[in-house]
Symmetry: C2
Subunit: 306 residues, 2 copies
């Protein structure tokens, strides 16, 4: 039950968060968001996605955003980008990417409905990307989705998650991020899933990517910490919401994660005040209040004091 001394937070707001926002966000705002996240102390910021703008118009400015961000890259900060295929990888490489991410679902139905092929086929499609990345000296991170449930199948067997995670590892991913895409996990089911995955992938190469749709993400992170997981994905201000249920929560908010880790005495290197400021700022840009409990409480307390 000893917790890790330090945790690495991978901020996914600018990509995974904004990609689910209906209103188009300008490249200026995206770059400014990333600059503020860097200033708050985040050391890994998923910057954009090299997908077709026909599929994801929000990421149509990917080359501009990545180029501008990298032109003033902060020392020691990683700026991974999502690259669903070789064409996307080549565009990312041309824009200067030094880290990319690929993904696979742990659910056959989800894979079929989302990318119209089986899990095995989808992973094979990524092989050229991981090979090209290795040749170019680019790091590759792997995402597994639906690790604790699927919107079409319901429960997902822990072994199915372990199989996809092991394949991504074998393909050369340096880290596997385990995504509870629908937020259906709880501390018990997440622990069972991790137990199966840890038999095939060293825990030092695992990350938790938990959605807070049913308010379980913080408890799931705590359960994962107890099992040795020391990397977590999060989205500032809870950006993005839930693509499967409008009005519900999606990615766990980065400030909620930092609050938990601060309380547990686990180092993150992230400053909570600056992070809450950033959550308030990007939420204002989107015309709303921050969705996270911590941002709301900290801002309410500041208001009460002033």
């Amino acid at each position: 039950m000893t917790l890790p001394n330090a945790v690495r937070i991978v901020e996914v707001g600018p990509r995974d968060g904004l990609q689910n926002e209906k209103q188009l966000v300008s490249a200026d705002t995206k770059v400014e968001l990333i600059r503020r996240l860097e200033a708050a102390g985040l050391k890994a910021i998923e910057t954009t996605s090299f997908v077709s703008p026909k599929w994801v118009p929000q990421m149509g400015d990917n080359t501009e955003v990545l180029t501008r961000v990298l032109a003033a890259a902060k020392r020691g900060v990683a700026y991974p980008v999502l690259t669903p295929n070789l064409k996307g990888f080549e565009a990312a490489l041309a824009a200067g990417a030094t880290e990319v991410a690929v993904f696979g679902a742990a659910s056959e139905s989800f894979s079929q409905k989302n990318i119209n092929c089986s899990i095995a086929e989808s992973l094979e499609r990524f092989r050229p990307v991981t090979e090209a990345a290795r040749a170019a000296g680019v790091k590759v991170r792997g995402y597994v989705s639906c690790v604790a449930g699927c919107p079409y199948e319901g429960l997902i067997a822990p072994q199915a998650v372990a199989d996809v995670a092991a394949t991504l590892l074998e393909m050369g991913c340096y880290e596997i991020s385990l995504g509870d895409t629908i937020g259906g996990g709880n501390p018990a089911s997440i622990a069972r899933m991790l137990e199966a995955v840890m038999k095939q992938v060293p825990v030092a190469q695992l990350a938790g990517h938990y959605h807070d749709t049913y308010g379980m993400a913080i408890a799931n992170i705590h359960a994962s910490l107890q099992m040795g997981v020391a990397v977590f994905d999060a989205s500032v201000g809870g950006l993005g919401g839930c693509p499967y249920a409008a009005g519900a929560s999606g990615n766990v908010a980065t400030e909620d994660v930092v609050w938990l880790l601060d309380g547990l005495g686990v180092q993150t290197g992230v400053g909570l005040g600056a992070l809450v400021d950033t959550a308030a700022w990007i939420s204002a840009q989107l015309g709303r209040e921050p969705a996270s409990r911590v941002a709301r409480a900290v801002l309410a307390k500041r208001g009460a004091v002033s």
Copy 2:
């Protein structure tokens, strides 16, 4: 790490929740809320508070509400009421109460600022209430507030909590509810607090009463379950908000707790669907959306399906 097989949920929405609502709620609505909570399967529902209506106008209808609720009491359901002094206790008894609750703070500053006396003095003031209750065959539940922090003092020593809990036990309380009044606790600090308290009060007589102000309540409940705590207070729809920071969350939502326990395979006897319906209904009465993640997600999913 074995969890309890079953958990008793004490629903505090009609009292602790509504008491913090600015708009006056009618006795009809309060009684209807309690009927719906019974129908959802809750077996303990804090019904009202016998305080002076000058202090808490929202509870000015205490006799009417309790009388009406008890007139059609459901078998096996407890309807505790808060009684801060002997006058309140006598009024509660006259209205038919068979269970009352008293309270003490674990923070000297909080006690002084809220009820203008020391912790020790406040507990002595309750002694006539517990003695009268014993004489009348009325059960007494004890609340300790500020168990994981105080709005004035910051951190609170676990031993201070244990001392108040032990005194309430010695005065005849059958159960001690440990309140994280400002939601400042996390799984580590809650565990340290429980460890100290459990040296003086058997865990079977403890309840967790955690606020979700910083989104930690579900993780704190999970940590408490791991230590054997099997009673938790919660408020349907997260009713009540946070009296120390307008706009922030207060009591953990009952539906979030039930969702967690359902996922962990721990029995509650509460039906999630009926509970979410109740959260939606009372929130509509108050002119807003339910505050809880689970209610929002379940309602959004129903909307998406229909």
